[in-house]
Amino acid sequence: MESIIVKDVTKRYGSVQALRGVSFSAHKGEMFGLIGPDGSGKTSLFRIMTTLLLADSGSVTVDGFDVRKDYKRIRERVGYMPGRFSLYQDLSVEENLNFFATLFKTTVEENYPLVKDIYSQIEPFKKRKARDLSGGMKQKLALSCALIHKPSVLFLDEPTTGVDPVSRKEFWGMLGRLKEQGITIIVSTPYMDEAKLCDRIALINEGTFMKIDTPAGITSSLEKKIMSVKGDDMYPILKALRELPIVDMAFGFGDMHHITLRDFSTTTDAVVKMMGNIGFTNLEVREIDANIEDCYMILSKMKSEN
């Protein structure tokens, strides 16, 4: 059963076209990821799906309800965690949770089993004011608050931005357990490494979906050979790589460069040799499997070239 159906949604703010006709659907109990950098339209799409904004055109249904007509029904059944921390900073952890429970006409006790897993981690600090919590704990509290009314669909807008790696990992672990309880989760993230934890992802760039598939599907659909290049003087190397005729694309990737090659038959030795000819020695070149970030870079580059 489809939990969410988004069809040809566009949204414009003045002269900025935030969404240029995006469509996707997510079925019940699926974890669907929106992957893209800041300003790519993720938050706008979230606000449209959570009935906070109206799309300029296109249609969205959540659990079969139209965001335009039945917004009241949708607001009863979704949990939303905005990208910005949106709880009451001056209320304690416990008070925030109680407040949101009341807001959704339920009690903490009633749905405690659902949030127990998450809430138990911040429970030792329940008397603390929300503003004094660490980034990771804030997000856990926000998630608890978004879950307190047992929503059927959970919208998480960049839940792990600004959260340390350990907490991020924990957080995704929690999402996995929520998914097992049949809650549809729509999550956005700028971190590509989190993308592979979703069932399916949409790569979003400048208001359009470049690709929607499973993480594995996306990486395998990329018909390119990819290599990593590592050397002493990284920036000149990147410039040199971009000039090589055999290299299609080169971009920085952490402490190394990733390159895609025009021809599948090119070997790592060939790259080392060509770079050696123009004075770059001591390079470490390796063939690698494409990851989501590679796909994102390649797809957005292809898109901008078209």
């Binding site: 904004l53 009241k72 910005r84 009451y88």
Partner: protein, 353 residues
């Protein structure tokens, strides 16, 4: 319940009316006491002596000199030894008896117009009293109407209604708009909207605390003015409170309106401060009488809720008139409340934009 989280704000909100009342009541008063006065009596008859005696008895004047020429009068005024010189023309009593009029010249130090105004009025009152005592019949005197309800010219009489109007406006309009806009700014509005809670309840829950707070403040102001400033509540307390509650509702609805129009706390503060507070202070008749303003300002003043409220409070509280005299004011206020509430409810967005 949420506003109590910020004890500092709450303290300010509760103390402010008290401080303002005391400030306006004492420090900023228009009242003039212990004015140094000099007398130049050319007449030396029953009439002038009677007036001089009354001036001497008055707590407002401090008789510093009796002089016998105009030069001394000028010197005293220039040196500041006397703020006012009263000159009686010769044969005053005779003139009053036979010609039906007598001239008394009052020269005041015009560098301080407020003081000289007040002084002139005091002297006029005293002369009028003396006149009555002398002739036993009413002479055409230049009596001030305002003296009727405020014989001592106490400035707190006119400031109390003004301060009430201002404080209620400030707390309701400004604080309500700020508290709603804060939700928008912090992002909690987003979460609140994506909840089954009806927007009207969100608004109500924001308005109710400030409504309560305003009632507390109203009580404080009234208690202070009665017991500290000796401003009596001459009319019906019940109707005074009813009118105040209506005014609070108007202010609340203005606050709501502001909150639907702006997105940041600073903007809310500026709008309620500049667009609503300043005109309220200046045009409501609290500081400057509306009647003296040019037509365009008078026209604008008609749209200022506080003006009507202050009028009504003056009538009810100071003059002690029955409620039927304030029906116009009350109905204007009710109308404003209805209009503002309707607009803000219409404008309140069920979505973010």
């Amino acid at each position: 319940m949420h506003i109590f989280r910020d004890p500092r704000t709450i303290l300010i909100l509760l103390l402010m009316p008290a401080i303002q009342i005391i400030l306006f009541g004492f420090a900023l008063s228009n009242e003039v006491k212990n004015i140094d006065i000099a007398i130049y009596d050319q007449s030396h008859d029953v009439a002038s002596r009677m007036v001089i005696r009354k001036i001497g008895e008055s707590p407002y004047f401090n008789l510093v000199a009796s002089i016998d020429n105009m030069n001394d009068a000028n010197k005293l005024l220039q040196s500041g030894k006397a703020k006012v010189v009263v000159i009686f023309e010769s044969n005053l009593y005779n003139k009053i008896l036979h010609e039906g009029r007598g001239d008394v010249q009052v020269i005041t130090d015009g560098t301080d117009p407020n003081t000289s105004n007040a002084v002139t009025r005091y002297v006029q009152v005293i002369i009028a009293e003396a006149q009555q005592g002398l002739t036993n019949n009413y002479m055409p005197v230049n009596a001030e109407l305002s003296m009727l309800y405020n014989p001592q010219m106490k400035s707190s009489y006119s400031f109390v209604p003004g301060v009430m109007g201002m404080i209620l406006m400030l707390i309701c309009a400004m604080m309500t708009s700020i508290s709603i806009v804060r939700e928008k700014e912090v992002g909690t509005m987003e979460v609140l909207l994506v909840s089954p809670m009806k927007p009207i309840y969100i608004i109500l829950s924001k308005a109710v605390p400030y409504f309560t707070l305003s009632l507390v403040n109203l009580t404080t102001v009234l208690l202070l003015s009665v017991f500290l400033l000796d401003v009596p509540i001459s009319g019906s307390l019940f109707w005074l409170i009813i009118v105040s509650v209506i005014f609070i509702l108007v202010a609340l609805s203005i606050g709501l309106l502001i909150s639907t129009l702006v997105d940041t706390q600073v903007a809310a503060m500026l709008i309620s401060g500049l667009v609503f507070m300043m005109p309220v202070m200046l045009l409501s008749g609290m500081i400057f009488p509306v009647e003296n303003m040019p037509f365009i300002l008078r026209a604008i003043a008609q749209f200022i809720p506080a003006k009507w409220y202050i009028l009504a409070v003056k009538k009810l509280m100071i003059q002690g008139l029955p409620v039927k005299y304030v029906l116009t004011e009350v109905s204007v206020l009710v109308g404003m409340a209805v209009v503002f509430t309707t607009i803000s409810l219409k404008k309140f967005r069920i979505r973010l934009a």
